[in-house]
């Protein structure tokens, strides 16, 4: 894919799939380095979690390394459930070995001897493939005398288990309900031991950075959103699929590249992200300084009803909320009931403004990121497509 014009900020990279790097060589070389130096390299690279939350990866690994205790865990969050996200599926299909090697590297750095991949049950069709790759990598670890092995744990159909503490609860065979934080998993996670939970994609980039170095990585992207990222593009687009692009592109450039010529809005970051209308495409940067995303980019053209889009998202959250905390459990239901009531004229249009006050409380008082994010789609769609909510 060429860039459209030489001013377009949509720049394709090939760090993950493009090069034929031998995974075990990458790992062996990384394990020759000074541990603290390598962690500092990760910090300097500016790599932030690629699952959507965006926590600085190097810092997370540093906390886990420094946490007291001799039993630690490394977990790959493969619960990819954000609507419109499928890039982890592709990584696992094509580069699972790099994911596992990245985990092994973290194990070596932090002193953890056990890792797990938590794979969503919806990906059960690739289980045998994952097991084969995992067993191969475990054998490789044994051969290079790395005291680290990875096991598989399956999810059972719960979007909220993508939240790291809910994921840990699920791994402990409990209901996937997010925990109170603090303590954070890096200090007390799985079985209350120091645990590093990272997204599939993050593991791969961490391994790659150990090879290419912080400077090369940070040369891509922007100052606040270094490097590149996999984006999963879907919806009203002639070219749905997974693309590795530099972080920090302008949304207008993205739409120019991926839209069908009639793009009305783009949902950046899945159901828990923001909806950007056409008139604001050129104001938005895709990155941590603008609107971040775990990769999901859904395009809607002028034939689409944004009311149906929002309704779909709210129904999703209402079903997938763990139900623990008041703002999310009840808030999600109220938002859905609310837009239906306004649409059917049983409530006046102003009721939407009342509901936007409630989303502020959901944002501030919900126990986890799920409840905190519901207001993103609600506010952005209601604000930008007010008439579609009413008529």
């Amino acid at each position: 894919m060429e860039t459209m014009t030489n001013t377009s900020t949509v720049r394709k990279t090939d760090l993950i799939f493009g090069r034929s790097l031998d995974t075990l060589t990458l790992l062996r070389n990384a394990m020759q380095r000074d541990k603290d130096g390598l962690i500092q390299e990760l910090i300097d690279s500016g790599l932030r979690g690629r699952g959507g939350a965006g926590f600085p990866t190097g810092l997370k690994w540093k906390f886990a390394k420094g946490a007291p205790g001799n039993k630690k865990y490394i977990i790959c969050n493969a619960d990819e459930g954000e609507p419109g996200t499928f890039k982890d599926r592709v990584i696992l299909e094509k580069a699972a070995d790099k994911v596992f090697a990245g985990m092994g590297l973290c194990g070596w750095l932090t002193g953890a001897t056990k890792g797990f991949i938590y794979l969503r049950n919806e990906y059960i069709w690739m289980r045998n493939h994952i097991l084969a790759q995992m067993n191969d990598m475990n054998e490789a670890f044994r051969q290079m005398k790395l005291d680290f092995s990875i096991g598989l744990k399956m999810g059972s159909g719960a979007y909220v288990c993508g939240e790291e503490t809910a994921l840990i609860e699920s791994m402990e065979s409990k209901r996937g309900e997010p925990r109170n934080k603090p303590p954070f998993p890096a200090i007390a996670g799985y079985e209350d031991k120091p645990t590093v939970v990272n997204n599939v994609e993050t593991w791969v980039y961490a391994l790659l950075i150990s090879y290419i170095g912080a400077d090369v990585f940070a040369a891509y992207g922007t100052e606040q959103s270094t490097g590149s990222k996999l984006f999963s593009v879907s919806g009203d687009t002639p070219k749905p699929g997974v693309y590795e692009l530099e972080m920090g592109m302008k949304l207008s450039d993205f739409v120019a590249e991926f839209g069908d010529g009639d793009t009305k809005s783009v949902q950046v970051g899945g159901a828990s992200g923001f909806c950007v209308p056409r008139r604001k495409f050129d104001q938005v940067i895709i990155g941590f300084e603008g609107i971040p995303t775990g990769g999901s980019m859904m395009l809607f053209n002028s034939h689409r009803s944004m009311y149906h889009v929002l309704h779909n998202f709210l129904e999703f959250f209402m079903e997938e909320s763990c139900g623990q905390c008041t703002p999310c459990r009840v808030g999600c239901q109220q938002l859905l009931l609310g837009i239906e009531a306004v649409k059917s004229k049983t409530k006046p249009a102003q009721y939407l403004d009342t509901l936007m006050e409630f989303t502020e409380t959901m944002r501030l008082a919900s126990k986890c990121g799920l409840g905190q994010s519901v207001g993103n789609a609600f506010n952005s769609i209601v604000n930008e497509f007010y008439e579609e909510m009413i008529y």
Binding site: P83, G84, W125, S156, A158, S296, V309
Partner: protein, 165 residues
């Protein structure tokens, strides 16, 4: 599930509280759902309360607590799926099998559910049937897929009948 089969699963995973989810998953993988009796027996052997087993199982969408058929169809209902025609695919399934989401065919062969994003937004409409995924669906394709499953089911029934006669 037959007690001996269930116990085999439990002992293989380990009769401990922290093995509950893998045990429930194994049962569902073989049977597609959990019965009251299954949950009671698991509770007994793990020495936890039945309520705790029920509370855990009921949390997860892929651990059904009511009777499901031999083939569990999970059709994606995400907004992208809808945009790409999942409603027409759903109508085709209902036409062919005579069931709506949440229902099971009278002969116990198929159950149908609508589920949230299954990770195939680039190839919607998409569905899972047990541990297999089918993408790029349309009414014709889905009918074809289900017909194959029906043939498979009747062949197996034919074989089972043969061996019992």
């Amino acid at each position: 599930m037959e007690k001996t089969v269930l116990e085999e699963i439990i002992y293989r995973q380990g009769a401990q509280r922290d093995r509950l989810l893998p045990i429930l998953q194994d049962v569902v993988e073989q049977q597609n759902f959990l019965t009251e009796g299954d949950m009671l027996h698991i509770a007994n052997l793990l020495q936890i309360s039945a309520a705790e087993v029920y509370g855990t199982a009921s949390f997860y969408s892929f651990l059904p607590l009511n009777r499901k058929g031999k083939y569990m169809i999970r059709l994606c209902k995400s907004i992208i799926a809808k945009m790409k025609g999942s409603d027409q695919v759903l109508a085709a399934i209902t036409d062919q099998l005579g069931i709506k989401p949440g229902e099971t065919t009278a002969d116990g062969v198929f159950s149908l559910e609508l589920v949230n994003d299954i990770g195939w937004s680039d190839r919607e409409p998409a569905m899972l049937i047990n541990d297999k995924v089918f993408t790029d669906l349309d009414p014709v394709k889905v009918t074809h897929i289900l017909t194959n499953y029906l043939k498979q089911a009747s062949t197996q029934a034919f074989v089972t009948n043969l061996s019992t006669n």
